[in-house]
Structures are given as structure tokens and as C-alpha cells.
């Protein structure tokens, strides 16, 4: 029983961490162009790395 006192909160905390990470990613527009992101990894930006 005592183990549950810290195991359940920590499990929930980790879950919530994942959830908030997903929501943040969603809000910051990282899912707006999934195909583009997959293709962009192939591009060598020789002049300007930051785009």
C-alpha cells in the first residue's frame, strides 16, 4: 500500500508529462507539415542552416 503512494503519482506524472509534451508539439505547429518534415531531412542547406 505504501508503495502505491508514490508509484501511482509518479506513473500519472510521467503520463501527464507525455501528454503535455504532445499538446505542446501540437500547439507549436510541429504537426502542420508532417510530410515536409520527413523530406526536409534530406536537404543540405549549405548557405543558411536556419530556415
Amino acid at each position: 500500500m505504501t508503495t502505491l503512494v508514490y508509484l501511482i503519482p509518479s506513473a500519472l506524472f510521467l503520463g501527464a508529462l507525455g501528454l503535455s509534451g504532445f499538446l505542446w508539439a501540437l500547439r507549436s505547429g510541429q504537426y502542420e507539415d508532417i510530410h515536409g518534415a520527413a523530406e526536409r531531412i534530406l536537404i543540405d542547406w549549405d548557405d543558411k542552416p536556419e530556415r
Partner: protein, 756 residues
């Protein structure tokens, strides 16, 4: 995914498509403040990293461009720029081989729904996962204080899920109830909230059974289906939005003092003088003051041959000016123009679809009362039998939970998502699920002629009787004009040895004149190009000829080219048991020619837009379910009047918006394919509903007898959902075999393109 071959990739061979002018783009851009503007263009042909890099580099190098970002998923490029004049982005894209289109900006609305749905799925998924873990511990034997603790934790986790994810269902259910309707969301909302309330009561009273897991995982499953449905429709809408706009957004207005202004169409008033260059569309109804040209009226009236116009004649909004610049005096504002009249006719014509109720709604209208009544009777029965109120309530709610239409709520959308995806891969966009249900019920197909059964593009038919040298000459001359007949001849140019001319001039309404090596060549109308022929064809009046110094050396005969696979498509529709009709605004002769080539049952020529609507009404009144396939502005009211409607991607903008399906490839096989997939989807939907009902007839007696525990409920619900989803996925197999049987769908330069 293959690599870049821009230009060759895109399905739509929009030869008459007009690149947006810079003024038009400026009108469509939005200001980000601080002199910064953003313009979004649809570039349907981008599809790989090399495209992204090429576009972003080339546009980024232009002056005044602040930032360029390609979105590969939506196939759009957004450009941020400074200053008054938009940088020549369209031209730059054109040089790279990408055709850019403007689209109607929709004000961030779609994203709101989608991101709300995705957030809801995430929250519900988080809650469902955690509660299920706790529930598994309870089922495995947690007892006493531990069980109570787990129940309390579950209750807490379920609150945000119910409030946030459930809110979508509660709002929709409330909306339906308030308007006195029933939809599938009503029993869901009732079941979920009652399950939560009872579980909370049980938890407070240290009860054994709590249904938190059931109520939250139910929401999770249903939300997945709903989100998929939304994504699918959004994708179809984006793809349709990305097509070229065929209506003018604005026009160049010449003021009395000689100054010129580019005004949006909505601000053009009668009496203004408009300059319409060759290649532009006439923005409003008007009268020609100066200039002569040929007008392509196919989108407006359905006539396939261009009309020669000269000063003093009236022109209709939406026609395409082909050959010469025109000055037009507007005689009507945009809201009174032909286009607006079509929209009004369409609204007035709204046919069977307005009254159509979706299968899911019809089922739930029966289902919800039955379920709620069963639960209520169970409750009364247990009270009467045992007098134990608590037990009666518990069992009644268990009945509600077990009958909660998880499978039923998924049965319809999942099938439609799979079907829409199949169609999408074949270049057919579906606007919504009800369109597929409606398409499955039709028994009559009505086709427009110009632009639908035919391409609206002429094709040379007497090629073999023309001297190849003369044909090469004519082709080289034809390349200088936008006139469809010239374009058709130019398309036959031999790749080697292009003849050269000293001077080429186009005479709007007549033809092209060129000089080479002391000879004057004319390609155009017989009466203008030259009198005497050596081919003995002087008797004829019309027709297109090539003359050298006034002597006819070749004459050309054209017919409107049939759309790829039109005959196969119509034969298939007839095999599927449909009556096929053709309605056209074109002449009797032109219609008869097409009717001869295709096995249509009968046709009606020279129809006005209202005549087409009338014919469809008549058919509907005779008890037929009519599908309309058409592309022109003149078809739009008919598209609205029909039970279900399909438009090719080359259709006028409002036609595309009015249609339930839009097909992107040239082949007309899209129509039978859509019908086939819709019918199969309809069959699967009925099967799924049957599965759900069978499930209920087994599960409900168990629940009524009071043998349902949360474990049984969880297993039964998941099992029925999986069964329904598995059945829906069978459609994938059907449709794949369909495509392999129809390899012609990718003929005539039409490649896989909108796939991602």
C-alpha cells in the same frame, strides 16, 4: 516516391488555365502589419525534398522576399514579402516548372476543429490508458482500501477526459435534442455521463463495480473515428481548394482620366471600362467597346466552339478571352452577373440532398429510444422483482453501458474513412460521408457534354489527309495563339525542324498571319485566309485552312475530343444498372456526334441552365435518384439540384464547390469507380450495423439479467468495435482489386499526383 519531374507530374492538363496576375495575388495577400505581407499559393506539383529546396531557394533570392516556407502536406507555399509590389513569385515558380494557383483563404477555421479533436483524442487516450491499468489491477483482485483508492484515482483522471473530450459529444447531443432531433451522440452522451455518475456513487459507497474505464475508453474509441473522418474530409477539401481558380478575382479598370486601377470584382460597377487582356476571364457581364477576339464560352454555355466577338457585342461573366485584348464596359455588377445568377439558381434548386438523412442518424433515431426504453423497463422490472432500488439502478445503467453504441458509432464513419481514402488514392475527392451514401442509391446518371464527356478541347480528325510539311508549318504558326484550334494544331508539331517565320501576327477573330521567305501564310477562318483552294473544297464556307499567298494548301477538320475512357465509363455505369443521359447547352449536331460515339440512352441539346435543372427535377419527380456530372457554370444549378453530383477538377469554381465529388484525373472512369466504392461502402455499413445489432441481442439479455461486470463490459465493447473496424478494412481489399482491373485510369499523361 519518385523524384522531381515537375510539370510532367500534375494530373491536370489545364491548357487554358491562366496564371494569377500580380494584382490578383496582391488582392489575395494579407497584411501581417509593419509593411509585411503574406501570400499563400497552392502549388499542387510539389512532392519531394528537391522541390522544397528548389522553391525555397529560388523565391528566397527574389528582392523584397522575407521568408518562404513550403508546406508539403497541404502543397502550399507561403511567402512573406515587404513593399508595395509583390515580387514576381508566380513567374519564378513557373520558371522552375511549378504551376501556382491562388485559393480562397479560409480563416483558420479548419485547424480549430482538427486541433480540438486531436487534443481531445490525446486527453481521452491518456485517461483511458491509465484508468484501464488501474481497472486491470481491480479485476485481478485488488480489494478493500486499495480498490477504493484505485477507483478514486480513476474518478479523478476521468474528470478532464469527460469535460474536454466528452464535451464534443455533449454539445452535439444537446444541439440535436434542442432541435428535437436524435443523433448517435445522444445515447453516447447519456451512457457516458450516467456510467460516470453511477461509478462515482459506487466509489463513495465502497462499491465493487465502477465503470470509469468503460466510459472513458468509449470516448477514446469514438473520438478516433471522428478524427479520422475529419482528417479525410479536410484533405479532400484542401486538394480541391488547391486547384486553379477559374473566376477572375479582379479586373483592370480604366478611369475616365486615363488612369488604371486593379479592382476586386465586388467593387466593379456598371459603366466602368474594363481592360481584359487575352488569356483573362471576363469578370462581369458587359458590352465590348473596343477590340475583337474569340471567346471560349464552354464553361458558361457548354458550347464547344469559340465565339468570335467584336465591338458592340455583349459578353457574359466567366467566358475566357482567347486571342485579342478587349475593352469592355461593365453592364452589371458582379452580384447581378451571370455567375451570381447561377449561384441563385443553384440555391433555389437544392434538391433531394437537403432532405437526406444520413444512415447513422436514421439508425440512431430508432436505436436511442429503444435502448433507453429497455434500460428503463429493466429498472422497473428489477424494482418490481426485488424492491432493491440500488440494484435496479446499477443494472439499468449496466444495460445502458453495454448498449452504448460504440460499434454503431464507429460502424459508419470507419467505413466511410476507408472508402474516402480509397477514392482519394484514385484522384477522387469526397466532400462528406453522406455523399457516398447518396451515390450508392442512384439509378440515373446525367452527364453534361462539353468539358465532361468531352474535354472541351478540339482534336484534329483529318490529319492523314494533310501534307506533313504543311502540318508542321501550321503547327509552328498555331503555337503563337491561345485559340483552342491553334493549340490543337500546335500540339501536333513534329519535334524536329521547326520552320521559322519572319513575322507572326494574330488577327483576333480571324487567324494568324506569318511571313516567311517572301510568302504570306495565313492560318485561320476560310473566308479570311484565302479564296481559292487547290483541294477542290471551295464550296465549303466555315472551317480552318492554311493558305499560302491566298491559296488554300491545307484544310483542317476538328471534333471535340472525348474524355479518356468515356465510353468504357458509360458502359460500366450501364452495367451497374443506371440509365445514362446527356444534357448539353451545345448544338444538336455537336450533341448527336457525341451521342453516336458513346452509348448514352438519350440526350437533350441546347438547354439553358434552368432547363437542365428542370430535366433533373422531372426525373426526380418520376422517382429517380439522379447523379449529375458536369463542369460548367451552366451546370452548377443542376449539380445542386441532383441527388448527388460529381465534377471534374477542370470545372468552374462554384461547380467544384457545389459538387459532392471532384475527380482530379482526366479519365472518366472515376465516375464508375466512385459509384462502385460507394455501393460497396454502403453494403459494409449495413453489415456493420447488423453486426452491432447482433452484438446487442446477445449482450443485452446478459445485462438485463444483471450479470454484467465492468470486466465483461470492457471486453464486449472492445470486441465489437474491433469486429466493426476489421469489417470496414475489407473495403481496402475490394477497392484495390478494382484499381488493378482499371489500369487505364492513369492514361493520357495523367500520373499519380495527389497521393502523398
Amino acid at each position: 516516391m519518385s523524384c522531381c519531374a515537375p510539370g510532367a507530374e500534375m494530373a491536370l492538363d489545364l491548357e487554358t488555365s491562366v496564371l494569377p496576375s500580380s494584382q490578383e495575388i496582391r488582392l489575395a495577400s494579407r497584411s501581417l502589419g509593419d509593411d509585411l505581407h503574406q501570400t499563400d499559393l497552392s502549388v499542387p506539383t510539389v512532392h519531394c525534398a528537391a522541390c522544397i529546396q528548389a522553391i525555397e531557394k529560388a523565391l528566397g533570392r527574389l528582392d523584397h522576399v522575407e521568408g518562404v516556407r513550403v508546406n508539403l502536406s497541404t502543397k502550399r507555399v507561403s511567402i512573406q514579402w515587404r513593399g508595395n509590389d509583390i515580387p514576381p513569385v508566380v513567374a519564378a515558380l513557373g520558371r522552375l516548372g511549378y504551376e501556382a494557383h491562388l485559393f480562397d483563404p479560409e480563416v483558420g477555421e479548419k485547424d480549430k476543429t482538427l486541433s480540438e479533436l486531436i487534443r481531445a483524442v490525446a486527453v481521452a487516450g491518456f485517461a483511458a490508458g491509465n484508468i484501464m491499468l488501474l481497472s486491470v489491477s481491480v479485476w485481478s483482485g485488488a480489494e478493500g482500501a486499495t480498490r477504493d483508492l484505485f477507483h478514486w484515482v480513476s474518478a479523478l483522471i476521468a474528470i478532464p477526459a469527460l469535460a474536454f473530450a466528452g464535451g464534443i459529444y455533449f454539445r452535439s447531443a444537446w444541439n440535436a435534442l434542442r432541435h428535437g432531433r436524435m443523433n448517435m451522440d445522444v445515447p453516447i452522451a447519456v451512457g457516458v455521463s450516467l456510467a460516470y455518475a453511477m461509478s462515482l456513487y459506487e466509489t463513495i459507497n465502497h462499491g465493487e463495480h465502477a465503470y470509469f474505464d468503460a466510459s472513458v475508453s468509449l470516448l477514446f474509441f469514438l473520438l478516433i473515428g471522428r478524427t479520422l473522418d475529419h482528417v479525410m474530409r479536410e484533405r479532400a477539401r484542401t486538394a480541391v481548394n488547391g486547384l486553379a481558380r477559374l473566376a477572375a478575382r479582379g479586373a483592370m479598370v480604366q478611369r475616365d482620366d486615363g488612369t488604371r486601377d486593379y479592382l476586386p470584382v465586388g467593387e466593379i460597377e456598371p459603366g466602368m471600362q474594363l481592360l481584359v487582356a487575352a488569356g483573362e476571364r471576363i469578370p462581369v457581364d458587359g458590352r465590348i467597346i473596343r477590340g475583337a477576339s474569340d471567346l471560349d464560352c464552354s464553361l458558361v454555355s457548354g458550347e464547344s466552339t469559340p465565339k468570335t466577338v467584336a465591338s458592340g457585342e455583349r459578353v457574359q461573366a466567366g467566358t475566357l478571352n482567347l486571342t485579342g485584348p478587349l475593352t469592355v464596359e461593365a453592364t452589371a455588377a458582379a452580384k447581378d452577373s451571370f455567375l451570381a445568377e447561377m449561384v441563385r439558381l443553384m440555391e433555389a434548386a437544392e434538391g433531394g440532398r437537403a432532405h437526406y438523412r444520413r444512415i447513422a442518424d436514421r439508425v440512431s433515431a430508432l436505436y436511442a429510444p429503444v435502448v433507453h426504453l429497455t434500460a428503463f423497463v429493466t429498472f422497473l422490472g428489477w424494482v418490481a422483482a426485488t424492491g432493491d432500488w440500488h440494484r435496479a439502478v446499477t443494472i439499468a445503467i449496466a444495460v445502458l453501458i453495454i448498449t452504448c453504441p460504440c460499434a454503431l458509432g464507429l460502424a459508419v464513419p470507419i467505413v466511410q474513412v476507408v472508402a474516402a481514402r480509397r477514392l482519394f488514392e484514385n484522384g477522387i475527392m469526397v466532400k462528406d460521408g453522406s455523399a457516398m451514401e447518396r451515390l450508392a442509391t442512384i439509378d440515373t446518371a446525367v452527364f453534361d457534354k462539353t468539358g465532361t464527356l468531352t474535354l472541351g478541347k478540339p482534336r484534329l480528325v483529318n490529319r492523314s489527309s494533310i501534307d506533313p510539311a504543311m502540318l508542321a508549318l501550321a503547327a509552328a504558326m498555331g503555337a503563337h495563339s491561345r485559340h483552342p484550334l491553334s493549340q490543337a494544331i500546335a500540339g501536333l508539331a513534329s519535334p524536329a525542324g521547326q520552320p521559322t517565320f519572319n513575322e507572326v501576327t494574330e488577327r483576333p477573330g480571324f487567324g494568324i498571319e506569318a511571313t516567311a521567305a517572301g510568302n504570306t501564310w495565313r492560318l485561320g477562318r476560310r473566308g479570311w485566309a484565302g479564296g481559292k483552294g487547290r483541294t477542290g473544297a471551295e464550296g465549303k464556307t466555315g472551317g480552318t485552312v492554311l493558305t499560302r499567298n491566298g491559296t488554300i494548301v491545307a484544310s483542317f477538320e476538328f471534333e471535340d475530343a472525348l474524355r479518356a475512357d468515356a465510353d468504357t465509363a458509360i458502359a460500366r455505369l450501364k452495367n451497374a444498372g443506371l440509365t445514362v443521359e446527356m444534357l448539353s447547352g451545345d448544338t444538336v449536331v455537336a450533341c448527336a456526334e457525341v451521342a453516336e460515339a458513346l452509348p448514352v440512352d438519350h440526350f437533350t441539346p441546347t438547354l439553358l441552365p434552368s432547363g437542365k435543372v428542370e430535366r433533373i427535377r422531372q426525373l426526380s419527380n418520376d422517382g429517380h435518384r439522379v447523379m449529375m456530372v458536369g463542369d460548367g457554370l451552366n451546370d452548377t444549378p443542376a449539380l445542386g439540384a441532383a441527388h448527388v453530383s460529381i465534377a471534374p477538377a477542370t470545372a468552374a469554381d462554384i461547380g467544384r464547390n457545389a459538387a459532392d465529388f471532384v475527380f482530379l484525373r482526366e479519365s472518366l472512369l472515376a465516375v464508375p469507380l466512385a459509384l462502385d466504392v460507394s455501393r460497396k461502402a454502403g453494403r459494409l455499413i449495413r453489415q456493420n450495423i447488423a453486426i452491432a445489432i447482433v452484438y446487442n441481442t446477445i449482450a443485452v439479455p446478459i445485462a438485463i439479467l444483471g450479470h454484467v461486470t465492468p470486466l465483461i463490459a470492457a471486453v464486449a465493447m472492445s470486441a465489437s468495435s474491433l469486429l466493426v473496424i476489421g469489417n470496414a478494412l475489407r473495403l481496402q481489399r475490394f477497392a484495390t482489386t478494382e484499381v488493378t482491373r482499371a489500369p487505364l485510369a492513369t492514361r493520357s499523361g495523367i500520373h499519380e499526383s495527389m497521393q502523398s
